[in-house]
């Protein structure tokens, strides 16, 4: 393994790990605040119990997310010092704002987790809402910085150096909103579905458990809204990529030839040697329409660009197809849930439906990882699109395989422990006897 590959693997692994915790840290606070709000309105103990249970999960995920995020803030320099030396000043603004959002999140999560019997219910709920808001803000700020790597803006290039830097223009670069909205909705969809899935599974064993029903409803509400809106934001992002990153766009779609009335390809396996995509279902003109709102528009193919600026086409295309397929599946489940909520007295009444929700529990996270692959692999060979190559950014330190393995082992262990704790907590859920909070159930 070369040092460059080791560095890229370490970064990919660190981000793939962190993204799960960051996403849960964005989605769970919303769920716990919603449940607490319902408790304040209804006075039912089950809602309070649910809020407290979810707060516990949030605490674990937030802590691991915070430390793995710290690792990333150092890894930017440990692995990519030349990139940071070049770009640090330009993308510092969203990172600094993220710092404050993260402060707010940590402060109010502390208030929320440990303040149950120290402050009024209203103040407590406000703290929960602030955690949710600042969590969403901090995620969006970080994605702003990533978006800048895809569509760098806010500077003028002179002799390979940036001059006339404009921090606001850099922060609000062309991909900033499309990417961050897509990420935020993904966070809500993935978290909502994993929560709904876990409780749907529990309901399959214990169908009348009120605790699990409430949890299922709220999970589907948050996850469902995210999943239904996600195709719209995906379209918004797709148009932005088509315009600003045509090579990435061609790779995601497996488009080798430039063509008017370009077809949308469903499935398929690109062959970069033969320069064609096989085994695919084609819908004529649809790709042109998706990209430019006109079935007759010209979509540029990979053949127009030199081979050394192509991203790895196969993984990019396959990851993209996987993400889109999962997105559609989740949208369908969300619409099914909405229909059941509207038409039937009890959303949890159908076992088939419960099985479908339970089966879709992990889907959101798989889609997020796949989408992250598309974003990052699709930008290669660039670390800053069109400006700096990844090979030119890597640290000169040799032996990078050692830190890669160290961090990988550490994160595998942490992941195993978090899963173990989660399983244990789910098993401790209130049984059929009803959702009575036990003594000692209350957080400190």
């Amino acid at each position: 393994m070369s040092d460059l590959v080791a560095a890229r693997s370490q970064m990919a692994m660190s981000l793939a790990f962190h993204i799960v915790f960051a996403v849960v840290g964005m989605g769970m606070p919303l769920l716990m605040a919603l449940s607490e709000w319902r408790w304040i309105r209804s006075g039912q103990q089950v809602d309070l119990l649910l809020a407290k249970r979810w707060a516990k999960g949030t605490a674990v995920f937030f802590a691991v997310g915070a430390v793995s995020g710290t690792v990333l803030s150092f890894e930017l320099g440990l692995l990519w010092p030349k990139f940071m030396s070049w770009a640090g000043a330009i993308i510092g603004m969203p990172f600094s704002l993220e710092g404050f959002a993260f402060f707010a999140e940590a402060i109010f999560l502390g208030v929320y987790l440990y303040g149950w019997d120290r402050i009024s219910p209203r103040a407590h709920l406000t703290a929960g809402v602030l955690v949710a808001v600042s969590g969403a803000a901090s995620g969006m700020f970080v994605v702003f910085a990533n978006a800048w790597m895809n569509t760098p803006a806010g500077f003028v290039l002179q002799n390979g150096k940036p001059i006339e830097v404009h921090p606001a223009a850099a922060m609000f670069n062309p991909s900033a909103w499309p990417q961050s909205i897509h990420m935020l909705l993904a966070a809500y969809a993935a978290t909502g579905f994993v929560v709904a899935g876990i409780h749907a599974y529990a309901l399959l064993c214990d169908q009348h458990n009120l605790f699990h029903r409430r949890a299922l409803q709220l999970g589907l509400l948050v996850g469902g809204i995210g999943a239904v809106l996600q195709p719209l934001s995906g379209d918004f992002l797709g148009k932005s990529v088509a315009r600003h990153q045509p090579v990435k766009f061609a790779a995601t779609e497996g488009q080798f030839e430039s063509e008017i009335r370009a077809p949308l390809r469903i499935g398929g396996w690109p062959d970069p040697e033969q320069r064609r995509t096989r085994y695919t279902i084609e819908i004529p003109g649809l790709l042109s329409f998706i990209a430019y709102g006109d079935t007759g528009a010209l979509v540029r193919g990979l053949n127009e660009y030199p081979r050394d600026v192509w991203p790895p086409v196969v993984p990019v295309h396959v990851s993209f197809q996987l993400m889109v397929a999962i997105g559609f599946a989740m949208t369908c489940v969300a619409l099914w849930a909405a229909w059941r909520q509207w038409r039937s007295p009890c959303i949890a009444g159908s076992r088939v439906f419960l099985w479908a929700v339970a089966a879709s529990a992990p889907l959101g996270f798989i889609a997020i990882e796949a989408g992250w692959f598309v974003t990052e692999l699709g930008r290669q060979p660039w670390i800053i699109q069109g400006v700096m190559r990844t090979t030119d950014a890597v640290t000169p330190m040799p032996g990078l395989i050692v830190p890669f393995f160290a961090i990988t082992l550490l994160y595998l262990a942490l992941a195993a422990i978090v899963i173990l704790l989660l399983v244990r907590q789910v098993r401790e859920s209130p049984g059929e006897s009803g959702p009575q909070p036990r003594a000692g159930e209350v957080l400190r």
């Binding site: 691991v64 915070a66 803030s73 940071m84 000043a89 510092g92 704002l97 710092g99 208030v111 001059i163």
Partner: protein
């Protein structure tokens, strides 16, 4: 008006001060968890967990702010430090991850006490190691031996920090953090016996601090000559040293007479003065001999925007922070006595 980079540097120093005074004490708490002993060992551990539980994550963010400001405002310094101190920083990160994760796992892994004890051990050992590594990094930067790598691997990536001076600074950081924690913990309980446990630890720590400070100073003659030169020959040095010594004596006197709020004030002042003395001796260099805060600063437009963002952030941050401490630290006197 002072140059913009000086203002950003000042904000970074202020953030580092908050980090040391707040998060430093959280690490110190972990150290006292490791060294908990005597009939009240379990009570000591519970007090520490209760004291740092609600606040440690917020306190940790100060470090992230320092790092973010370093790479936004002084990118070449960030790049150089993170390249040449790669290994030390990686170990530091290992400590940060293990400390935080183990603390939260201990709090929420309620299945059986054996697991809780193991998490507690990981938390405590990581709390001991992380401050040392933090000090090692600061010591290596201060020693002036960091250079653009180009030499052999061992020279470039290990010799700069695997040395007596950085580790002496690491030990110094550890002792100061432990001192802060012990002093703060006297104010976290009404239990006189428990208070006395930490009072004694604080007094011992304050004495050890003096010895380690002397060792660092003696080692600096050979290993950090430039910073030593500034510390010895600047007009500000003697007033500063005197004030630091007075703060240390004040801490001891206040601990001796059980005036714990005064002890907290003096100990925090002592640590702050030590940190600021280091910063003054380091000024204007970020990394000797090449990078100063002037020649490595980002363009003025960036610094300007950063300062506005910081101003806006601070307006939101301080009331929230005050609220956090008001909720959890404002009512110690009202909490019930559990023991003694």
């Amino acid at each position: 008006m002072p140059p913009l980079e000086l203002l950003v540097g000042g904000v970074m120093l202020a953030s580092l001060t908050f980090y040391v005074l707040l998060a430093g004490a959280d690490y110190g708490g972990g150290v006292w968890d490791l060294f908990a002993h005597g009939p009240r060992a379990q009570l000591q551990r519970e007090l520490i967990a209760k004291a740092i539980g609600p606040i440690w994550e917020a306190n940790h963010v100060w470090l992230i702010l320092v790092v973010v400001l370093l790479f936004s405002a002084f990118p070449p310094a960030y790049a150089l430090i993170s390249t040449s101190l790669h290994v030390a920083l990686l170990l530091l990160l290992l400590g940060i991850v293990l400390r935080g994760s183990a603390f939260i796992f201990r709090a929420y892994d309620t299945a059986h006490s054996g697991a809780q004890a193991s998490w507690g051990r990981v938390f405590a050992v990581a709390s001991l190691g992380t401050p040392i590594l933090l000090g090692v990094v600061v010591g290596a930067i201060s020693s002036g031996s960091i250079q653009q790598p180009g030499e052999t691997v061992r020279r470039a990536y290990f010799f700069t920090w695997v040395a007596a001076f950085p580790f002496a600074v690491g030990l110094f950081a550890l002792v100061l953090f432990a001192l802060l924690a012990a002093v703060y913990l006297t104010l976290e309980t009404n239990d006189a016996a428990l208070q006395d446990d930490f009072r004694r630890r604080a007094i011992v720590c304050e004495m050890v601090t003096a010895v380690v400070a002397l060792a660092v100073f003696l080692l600096s003659r050979q290993h950090a000559p430039a910073i030593r030169e500034r510390l010895a020959n600047s007009w500000w040095t003697w007033p500063l040293q005197l004030a630091t010594a007075l703060a240390a004596l004040g801490t001891l006197a206040a601990l001796w007479t059980r005036r714990f709020p005064w002890a907290r004030f003096c100990a925090a002042g002592q640590v702050t003065l030590i940190l600021w003395g280091w910063a003054l001796a380091q000024y204007p260099y970020l990394v000797r001999p090449d990078l100063t805060i002037h020649n490595s600063a980002a363009p003025p437009v960036v610094l300007h925007a950063l300062l506005w963002a910081l101003a806006a952030g601070v307006v939101l941050l301080f009331p929230s922070y005050w609220y956090l401490f008001h909720v959890f630290k404002g009512s110690t006197q009202k909490s019930p006595v559990r023991h003694g």
